[in-house]
Structure formats: structure tokens, C-alpha cells
């Protein structure tokens, strides 16, 4: 592959070693019991899986985004929810801190987060809609040197486990046509007035918590403002392609995980002395089409990450990965279940877990349709630009 180097291959091998030896034996247990993978998260932090693309001065690995993608692909093959836990802390929230944090905030939050010693959650979504920032109700008001936050945030990943929540609220009047008037605050878990509901019981991403955060007159000092007050939404716009791309890499791994299981099953399950693969053209064609979709996704993922590393990636590639990745993972996982027959729908084989987890990626972080809508807007913009 054009993107593979000796060092990247070695990092892939080491990640695989970690996932096979430490994550695989417990992955399905976490899915069944809905248990957050704290031990694995800490181990991933020790091994350096959290800070891959961030500078060494921030406690990161100082590697590139392609290396990051390769690692997340490996994680997705074995335990998607571990990738969601890692990505929500290090990319969704950590990415914002890395780009907009003050030197003190980097030292206090980012350095331990890159080692897995501190866990972040990023909280944007409210009942008004995940992509509907302009009706956001949550707000913060200045009070001397402090801010007072009042908000309710829904479906927040890593809720209840995180040490620090990065919460986006309104801090000023809306200025139509601009992203002004939103601010990110660091809220530490024990801050008075801040509460976390019990986690939702979901169809997938079991073992990762999604819960409601309530901020009732939560007082934080002005040092807890990320970057500049009023610029929060701008930071989110810059950071979100990375979060979406992480989903692309993770879902590529998920598709591969489901495909490998289905391929093995189709070769080993015998009927009338022949494997499913050799018996039925319909099975062979399923696997051929699954493979084709996976390789097409791989091409898109690594092209996007390569452009990202070169600093020339058009931002819409993030949305493209957020759309294409979950679609391929869901399609491949659904076909894999079909190839398994009855065992495919039983908890425990693990093949259906890929499908449940893939489906959640159509919504978590940004709905597929909202991404399509944004992509269409880019297309319109480019059309008029080039006209």
C-alpha cells in the first residue's frame, strides 16, 4: 500500500499484538455486560495509543494522522467501543484542547490525557438536535472572574467515567451568518451543580456510556474557558473533520473484522462435503462484494489521511468518511450475519456486535443525513466558486 512504511507497519503489528492479547479476550464480555473498558483504556494510554497525532511537547507521540488511522483501524477490528472511548477522549475533546488550549490547559489536561491518565468527554448535543447549534439552550453568564453554566447535554460519550468535560454553550447573542457567541468550558467531574445520569441502555456501543449531563448553576473560573470566549463553535468546525475521519478509520476496521469472521466461517462450514464458499455462488459473491466495498473504503480513508498529513485535505473529506465508513461497516456486518445463518444472530459469536455498533455510527457524532447535507453544501459552494 502506498501509505505503508516500515515504522507504520511495526506500529500496526504492535497495536494488533495489544488488541489480540489484551482486548480480544474481553471484548465480547464488555459488549454483553455494558462495562466501560477502563483497564484497557489505561493500557492503551500507557502504550501511547491516545496521543498519536499530537506534538511531543503536549505529551503526544508526534506521529502523523495516517499512523493514527492505522491504529484505529486495528482497534475497530477487535473492539469498536474501545476506539469510541479513546477517540471521544483524545480526538473529539482532546483535539479541541490541542489546537485551542492555553499552555496551562495543555499542561494540566492534555499531557495526562495523552497518557490515558485523564479521560475527556466532549459535550455539544442538546434536545434541540445534534446538528442544530443555533437553537442551543445551554448558556454561561459571566459573574466577576467566574462563569455560571446552565445546560443539559444528551447522549454524551464517556459520561460518568470522564474526569473532565469539555462543554459547549452559548455565551452571547447569536450573530446570524457567523459562528460567534459559543464558548467551550472545562468542567471537572466533581464541580458542584454538575450531575451525570445513569447511562442509556442502547442497541450497540454497549460498554461505552452515553448519558445526560446536567449543569445547574455550575461555577467555573475564567481559566476554564478553552481558548477565547465566543470562539467555541469555530474550534469545533475546525476540529470536527478529524473526529469524522477517526470514525472512517474505525469503521474500516469494523468492516474488516466482520469480513474476516464471515470469510473464515464460509471456508470452514461444510455442507455435503464442501464449504459454504465452494457450495454457493451467492456466498462467494457476497464475500467478493464485501471485499470490494472494504477496499474502496480503504482507498478513501487513506487518501484522506494522506491529504490531511500533507495539510491539503479539503474539509468535506471528513464528512465523506463519516458517511461512507459506517455504511460499509453496516453493509458488511449485515452480510456477515447472513453468511453465519442462525449463529450470526446469537450473542456470543460477535459478528452481530459489528452490525449493532456500525448502525450507531450512522448517528453518534453527527447523523449521516446531517453529514450529507453539509457535503451537499460544499458541492454547491464549489460549483459557484468554479463558475
Amino acid at each position: 500500500m502506498f501509505y505503508m512504511t516500515e515504522e507504520r507497519q511495526l506500529i500496526v503489528n504492535i497495536t494488533r499484538e495489544f488488541m489480540e492479547k489484551e482486548a480480544a479476550p474481553v471484548a465480547l464480555e464488555h459488549d454483553r455486560e455494558g462495562k466501560w473498558p477502563l483497564e484497557l483504556f489505561r493500557r492503551a494510554g500507557e502504550l501511547g495509543l491516545l496521543g498519536i497525532p499530537f506534538p511531543t511537547e503536549q505529551g503526544g507521540l508526534g506521529a502523523d494522522w495516517t499512523t493514527f488511522a492505522l491504529v484505529y483501524e486495528e482497534v475497530g477490528k477487535v473492539m469498536p467501543i474501545l476506539g469510541i472511548a479513546l477517540g471521544s477522549s483524545s480526538i473529539l475533546a482532546g483535539g479541541l484542547v490541542s489546537t485551542a488550549g492555553s499552555p496551562e490547559q495543555i499542561e494540566k489536561y492534555m499531557v495526562p490525557a495523552n497518557k490515558g491518565e485523564l479521560i475527556f468527554a466532549g459535550a455539544f448535543t442538546e434536545a434541540t438536535g445534534g446538528a442544530n447549534f443555533f437553537e442551543m439552550q445551554g448558556h454561561a453568564d459571566p459573574d466577576g472572574d467566574d462563569w455560571i453554566i446552565n445546560a443539559t447535554k444528551l447522549f454524551i460519550t464517556n459520561a460518568g467515567i470522564a474526569d473532565v468535560y469539555l462543554v459547549l454553550v452559548r455565551t452571547g447573542e447569536l450573530q446570524p451568518g457567523t459562528a460567534n457567541g459559543f464558548t467551550f468550558f472545562f468542567v471537572e467531574k466533581d464541580t458542584p451543580g454538575f450531575t451525570v445520569s445513569p447511562p442509556e441502555v442502547k442497541m450497540g456501543f454497549n460498554g461505552n456510556y452515553s448519558a445526560t449531563l446536567t449543569f445547574k448553576d455550575v461555577r467555573v473560573p475564567k481559566e476554564n474557558v478553552l481558548g477565547k470566549a465566543g470562539d467555541g463553535l469555530k474550534y469545533l468546525v475546525v476540529n470536527s473533520p478529524d473526529e469524522f475521519m477517526a470514525v472512517g478509520a474505525l469503521t474500516l476496521g469494523m468492516a474488516e473484522g466482520a469480513y474476516e469472521m464471515a470469510l473464515k466461517y464460509s471456508m470452514e462450514r461444510m455442507q455435503n462435503g464442501k464449504s459454504l464458499f465452494d457450495n454457493f455462488q451467492v456466498t462467494r459473491f457476497k464475500l467478493a462484494n464485501m471485499k470490494l466495498e472494504i477496499e474502496a473504503l480503504r482507498g478513501l480513508v487513506y487518501m484522506a489521511f494522506d491529504l490531511r498529513d500533507k495539510g491539503v485535505m479539503p474539509p468535506e473529506y471528513g464528512r465523506m468518511l463519516k458517511i461512507k465508513g459506517p455504511r460499509v461497516a453496516e453493509y458488511v456486518a449485515a452480510e456477515a450475519i447472513q453468511i453465519f445463518g442462525a449463529p450470526g444472530v446469537v450473542f456470543g459469536t460477535g459478528v452481530e456486535r459489528f452490525w449493532r455498533d456500525a448502525k450507531i455510527n450512522f448517528i453518534a457524532g453527527a447523523s449521516l443525513e446531517a453529514c450529507q447535507d453539509a457535503l451537499a453544501n460544499y458541492i454547491r459552494g464549489n460549483y459557484y466558486k468554479s463558475a
Binding site: E6, I11, I14, L47, G48
Partner: protein
């Protein structure tokens, strides 16, 4: 100060080996990896070098593909690596390997302990350590499940059929370790990235005057498949009777 050497082998990844229905073995698509057993040897060498204040040196013998192993081995805590390069297409058996490794050890200074795994991930012939020791004129301790320095000698526990034997042996010494000896650490990504900056010495087998004539030859390799009898039984009693007939219970 004593340096410690870890001998390791680059083998075909077992997960990629395919056995065809005619039992022929297909290695053509197998990627290489450091033999899992040898990761235990590397771990012990790193630990012993840490205890004695010496360097831990990785030593490997093989043709060009082995180059891929160097950073991997170095990321596991070794301080440097020595690669004895075999000519392409060379037929290598345990004798040739032991000669090459012995030449490699001789080219290093201040070696105290040479650690091998009991066997390799591919053929598990268990010949390397004893042959290497014989060529170097050193004592060898095999089946080692525990090893530490005590007052300048190596104290090693050997796991035998139904007993544990502890020996104290003066350095230099060759040891062959069992997987039970330790749990090799998975290296962190920082160590992986730093591995590229560690020193690697590359020497050809000819340069070291290694005799490359093998003494044995593999004449055939076949996959092993358990033949199944596919007996259907009607009841538990029938099952027990069938197992008795086979002499299993």
C-alpha cells in the same frame, strides 16, 4: 559489567499459514514475525542486562527479510542488534544457524549470558541453544522457567517432567527459556519510534567465515489433519460405549 545476548528468529506468521485440502502447506502468503517464543528470550535478556548494568544485544541470522525484524526487536527494549546476513536461497538448518550465531557471539565483547528460546515458532527443533553452547565451549541450561543473577552467577530453575531443578552456573552461559519464564511486555509506540535510532550492525555470514553447508535437509512438509470417524450415536450410553471401544475411557 556483562552484556546479555538474545537470539531470535524471524519465522512465518502462524496465522497466515494455509493448509490445503491435500495437506500441502502454503507459506507463500505468510508475513514474517519474531517467533513468539523468542519474545520471552528478548524480555529476559533486557531484564538481565538491566540488573547487571550491561547492554542487551539482539542477535539474529537470516536472509534479507530478517531486516524487517530489527526495529521490532529493538522496540522491545534491546539496546542494539547484530544481524548476520545469510545469502539469499541458502538452505539453513540448525547446524548452520548455530554456527552463525556462535560467530556472532564471538564478535561481541563482554558477553555474560546468551538467551535463546527453548524452540522456535516454526520447527521447534530445540537444537539451537545446545549446539550454540557446544560451539562456544560454554555450559548450557535448558528448559529454564526462572533466571536471576545471584552474586555474579546465574541461578536458573529448570522445569522438568515432574520436578523443578535449580542450578547455579558461572558466566558465560547459554540458557534456553520456556514461555513460562515471563510475560513479554508489549512495547509502547514511543519505544517503536525510538527503535529506529538504536544501533544495528550488519555482517554477512561470509565475512564472519560461517560454514554454510547444512547437515540435514527437509524432504517433505505436510499439514496435519485429524481424521474424523463421524460416528453418530443415539444415546449417552452409546457414546460411552463408543468411547470405551476407542480406549478413551
Amino acid at each position: 559489567m556483562q552484556n546479555t545476548v538474545a537470539c531470535y528468529k524471524w519465522v512465518a506468521d502462524e496465522a497466515d499459514i494455509r493448509v490445503h485440502p491435500d495437506l500441502s502447506v502454503d507459506l507463500s502468503r505468510a508475513a514474517g514475525r519474531i517467533s513468539e517464543y523468542d519474545k520471552h528470550a528478548i524480555e529476559l535478556a533486557v531484564q538481565l542486562a538491566g540488573n547487571s548494568g550491561g547492554q542487551a544485544v539482539g542477535l539474529t541470522f537470516g536472509a534479507e527479510p530478517v531486516r524487517k525484524s530489527l526495529k521490532d526487536a529493538l522496540s522491545r527494549g534491546l539496546d542494539e542488534a547484530l544481524w548476520i546476513k545469510a545469502p539469499e536461497q541458502a538452505t539453513v538448518d540448525a547446524v548452520v544457524t548455530a554456527r552463525a550465531l556462535a560467530a556472532g557471539v564471538k564478535s561481541l565483547d563482554g558477553v555474560g549470558v546468551i538467551v535463546c528460546a527453548e524452540g522456535s515458532g516454526d520447527s521447534y527443533a530445540r537444537q539451537t541453544a545446545p549446539r550454540l553452547a557446544a560451539l562456544l565451549g560454554l555450559p548450557v541450561v535448558t528448559s529454564v522457567c526462572e533466571a536471576t543473577f545471584v552474586d555474579g552467577v546465574l541461578r536458573a530453575t529448570r522445569r522438568l517432567e515432574d520436578s523443578l531443578e535449580t542450578v547455579a552456573v558461572a558466566l558465560p552461559v547459554v540458557v534456553a527459556v520456556l514461555p513460562q519464564i515471563n510475560r513479554p511486555a508489549i512495547p509502547g509506540l514511543k519505544a517503536v519510534m525510538a527503535a529506529g535510532r538504536k544501533p544495528v550492525t550488519e555482517k554477512t555470514a561470509e565475512e564472519l567465515g560461517v560454514d554454510l553447508a547444512p547437515k540435514s535437509e527437509i524432504t517433505s512438509m505436510k499439514g496435519f489433519a485429524q481424521a474424523r470417524k463421524n460416528v453418530l450415536v443415539e444415546s449417552v450410553a452409546d457414546l460411552v460405549a463408543a468411547l470405551k471401544k476407542e480406549g478413551i475411557v
